[in-house]
Amino acid sequence: MKSHTDPILQAYLDRLEVALAGVESADRVELVDRVREHYDAASRELPDPTDAQLADILHKLGAPEVVAREMLAISAVRAADGPTLSSKTLWIPLALALAWPLGLMGLVVSTVSSGRERLLLAGVTVVGPLLLTGTFLSPTAFSPSGQGVARLIMGVLWSPATISGLAAGLVLLRRHSQSVGETPSSTKLNVAPIMGAMVLVWLTLVFLARAL
């Protein structure tokens, strides 16, 4: 049995990669992995394969361009279906660029005084964008064997993170409504409502991202 680094396979995969230009990377990786697996399984069935037999395995698969065309058709349908992973991914740097500086600034100047609330604020500031990032990542980004793990991670993280984020947003908004009555002359900028609103916006984005 010859390994997947056979030059004959590598040449086929190189042509396949070129032909798959324009296909989403998850689909590209998936197809290349399946071709490798097919080649591996087929060549293991041959006791002592000759180069001609190995070439025949790839010949029967069809020209890389033909196989790629099928994948391109699927990717085209996916693009027509709605936002793609790559367009969703654009949100990630935007969310990180906006959320972290705002959150850190908020922590410095906030009237939130108790240690526990500051911890909550810091946690939400860090976790919010990360959660958003994770939500936009396709499970296939963890491909190939991590697909189940990705789902598990999101399943475990999402519900508690959402509940705690919602709680944090409500606590901050409530604190603002209390502090308006108690300390009208405060010289500090009260950013609690801004932070609270930001948390709620994050959660809305996360919810929308998952619903899409």
Binding site: R34, E37, S145, G148
Partner: protein, 113 residues
């Protein structure tokens, strides 16, 4: 060649359901599916086109995937039917029976005036 085009069109239409039908009893991996389709004869033009098809069916929720260890070599990706896939095969089986009976009737006897 028009006959070759018709052949390809027919294959394209039914291949998906043949793959689903092969998964009814048990999950299978790609190379195994290709072997069974080849045994049936005439269903596969290029073996490699099975893999984009499986990707599409996974995206549409008709098949699920899992990794299984192999006695020989690295783990393999197995495909199994979802409930949606199972319903699709069942519906196709009924439609195909009616469709093939109608086509056979025309091909064998012609239109009865």
């Amino acid at each position: 060649m028009k006959e070759a085009e018709a052949d390809a069109q027919l294959r394209r239409g039914v291949l998906e359901y043949c793959v689903l039908a092969l998964l009814e009893d048990q999950p299978r991996y790609g190379f195994e599916l290709v072997g069974l389709l080849e045994q049936a004869g005439g269903l596969l033009g290029n073996q490699g086109t099975v893999y984009p098809l499986l990707s599409r069916m996974f995206r549409e929720g008709r098949v699920r995937t899992e990794w299984r260890e192999s006695r020989l070599g690295p783990p393999r990706k197995y495909y199994g039917l979802t409930d949606q896939g199972r319903h699709a095969v069942r519906d196709f089986r009924l439609a195909w029976t009616r469709f093939s009976a109608a086509v056979n009737s025309i091909l064998e006897k012609g239109v009865v005036e």
